[in-house]
């Protein structure tokens, strides 16, 4: 197992370098001179030239990239063009909020998705199965920003049960987490259903039935355990779109997380902030994927992932 983790870690290193390279290159495409943007409109040519020298913008591209990597390794993601504060400081304030939102959303994805999937699979083609699958299909098709607004209108404006926006208490988490987790729950429900149906049809489940085991034991102890394996992969993949989804949900519910920071930074053309935000979110995603692979290995020791 340790060897497997080490091997996967080794595979992650080039991907991380690739991610930094892509982020670096995309930001090079930004029109306009960063030195002029930083110095301000009215700055003199000498000031701009000095700033360009200080920022290393006169160096060849590959030298700039290596100095960018060097800075990252030293924990520096540059300073915001807006307030000249370190980008990393801002990210460290915002990231925990986004991770909290992501955590509760993935919880909803798993609990809601698994429950719905099992309900469907236990009695396939019944009314409950068809209703769950129709809701799941709608869940995949609803845009999260619209679902968020509908939930906000119903539960915050009309019923006044939950706060409209912000991030101060647990009550603030509920609607954004449902908004973000619903789409994933629909996908997990579909996956759980098909995976359970496949497992239920297998010989060893039939043997368990023939042995006279209770249906409850068969479903939860025998079928679900094996049906969970492909579901874990789907949940892992969902985490990526979930992290991306935080961008929209944080904007809908005015949550000051990493996603909203990136969107605001794009609007104000605060390039180091966009660069830092996208980089950190992608690195989190890479490590979550690594974690999912390890969990996959733990759950299914028979599969050789190497």
């Amino acid at each position: 197992m340790l060897l497997f983790i080490l091997k996967r870690l080794a595979q992650v290193v080039p991907v991380i370098f690739g991610v930094t390279l892509v982020v670096f290159l995309i930001m090079q495409m930004v029109p306009g001179d960063p030195a002029i943007i930083m110095a301000g409109e009215g700055a003199s040519t000498e000031t701009v030239e000095q700033l360009r020298e200080d920022l290393g913008l006169n160096e060849p591209l590959h030298v700039q990239y290596f100095s960018y990597i060097g800075n990252i390794l030293q924990g520096s993601l540059g300073n915001s063009l807006k307030n000249n504060q370190p980008v990393l400081d801002e990210i460290l304030i915002r990231l925990p909020i986004t991770m909290e939102l992501a955590f509760f959303s993935i919880l909803i994805t798993i609990v809601l998705g698994l429950t719905a999937g099992i309900i469907s699979a236990v009695k396939p083609y019944s009314v409950s199965d068809i209703s769950v699958m129709v809701v799941a299909l709608l869940g995949i098709s609803l845009p999260s920003f619209w679902l968020g607004l509908l939930l906000m209108y119903t539960f915050s404006i009309k019923l006044q049960w939950l706060p409209v926006a912000g991030w101060d208490s647990f009550a603030h988490i509920i609607l954004p987490a449902i908004t973000l987790g619903a789409g994933g729950a629909a996908i997990v429900a579909r996956m759980t259903r098909s995976s359970m149906l496949e497992v239920i049809g297998q010989d060893y489940v039939r043997t368990a039935r023939a042995k006279g085991l209770k249906e409850h034991t068969i479903i939860y102890k025998h079928a679900l355990r094996n049906a969970l394996i492909p579901v874990i992969t789907v949940v892992g993949l969902q985490f990526g779109s979930l992290l991306g989804g935080t961008v929209i949900v944080e904007s809908v519910f005015a949550i000051n997380g990493l996603g909203r920071m990136i969107v605001d930074a794009i609007r104000t053309r605060d390039i180091p902030m966009v660069q830092g935000g996208v980089l950190v979110a992608s690195l989190v995603f890479v490590f979550v994927n690594l974690l999912v692979d390890v969990m996959y290995k733990v759950f299914n020791k028979r599969i050789d992932l190497n």
Partner: protein
């Protein structure tokens, strides 16, 4: 003598393969016609396509005309979906907006499919170091979560609907490339490809005339499912103010301005949302049906 027999056999193999492909196509249309979900999805897509064509005829008002004295009117017989904060007829804007959503969806998927297919065919056919370089680059692109790569691209190119199309298209590239690479690797080892090579075909002919038509099924399935994601992503980016700019009647942008009037005029956000959801539902249903008909191995 032996060579002419080999050529004869190869020609026969190729013609059998062509016949098989024709039969498979006929079977596909039969299967898709029997799949209720796909038929419903197909009708939804056709309905939206007809809206885009008939928008100038169907729209009761000019979608851009500002009538401030008519602002924020609820649904009525005159304005079926009400009017927005500038007094513009929401129904007319929605009808014209269908053109934008579908155009962005199709263009971004075509963009992603074009580059993805090209990279996948090259990686799958040539293998070795070519495959390693392309596959590792795709891994890097897939390391960006969801919409974030699109955000990074928009931050560089600037907010506009065309840039959203490019950004959403770029993050579709690795998905197409992976599927095409896998299928190409399977097909290139088939006997009839050897037969074609015996007939003297070069790599270009083999890849584009013989491998490509045989791997179309998973590409079409992926394309129709990606359309749903592309439309959602593009609307999401416009909702954030990074795509279509005012006064464009793009649905995501309309929803975004509706958000400010959620207390007083919720219908401003409700109707564009319904339009996006039903269209995405149509592509999802159609994509699922296509997958069952074309690629039973992927059936869920």
């Amino acid at each position: 003598m032996t060579k002419s027999i080999a050529i004869e056999e190869a020609t026969e193999l190729v013609s059998i393969r062509r016949k098989l492909r024709k039969e498979k196509r006929q079977l596909f249309f039969r299967t898709i016609g029997q799949n209720k979900a796909a038929v419903v999805g197909g009708f939804i897509i056709l309905f939206y396509l007809s809206l885009t064509i008939l928008a100038p005829v169907l729209a009761p008002f000019d979608p851009f005309e500002i009538e401030l004295e008519d602002k924020l009117q609820g649904p009525s017989t005159e304005h079926w979906m009400g009017t927005d904060d500038k007094g513009r007829d929401i129904l007319s804007r929605i009808l014209y907006g269908s053109r934008l959503s579908l155009a962005v969806g199709f263009s971004s998927v075509l963009f992603g499919a074009f580059f993805g297919i090209l990279l996948g065919l090259i990686a799958g056919y040539y293998g070795k170091w070519v495959d390693t370089i392309i596959s590792r680059s795709l891994d890097v692109m897939l390391a960006f979560p969801g919409i974030l790569l699109a955000l990074a691209i928009i931050s560089a190119l600037g907010p506009s609907l065309i840039n959203v199309t490019i950004a959403v298209g770029v993050f579709s590239i690795p998905l197409f490339a992976r599927i095409v690479r896998g299928s190409t690797m399977e097909v290139k080892n088939l006997e009839y490809i050897d037969a074609i090579r015996t007939l003297g075909a070069n790599d270009f002919i083999i890849i584009f005339r013989h491998i490509f038509p045989n791997i179309l099924s998973p590409i079409i399935v992926q394309g129709s499912l990606r359309l749903a994601t592309a439309i959602l992503s593009a609307a999401g980016l416009s909702f954030l103010g990074l795509g279509a700019q005012p006064p464009s009647p793009e649905w995501g942008a309309m929803l975004s301005s509706g958000r400010d009037f959620l207390f007083t005029a919720p219908y401003m956000a409700i109707f564009p949302g319904i339009m996006i959801s039903v269209l995405v539902l149509g592509f999802n249903l159609f994509g699922d049906g296509l997958r069952d008909a074309l690629d039973p191995r992927m059936k869920k």
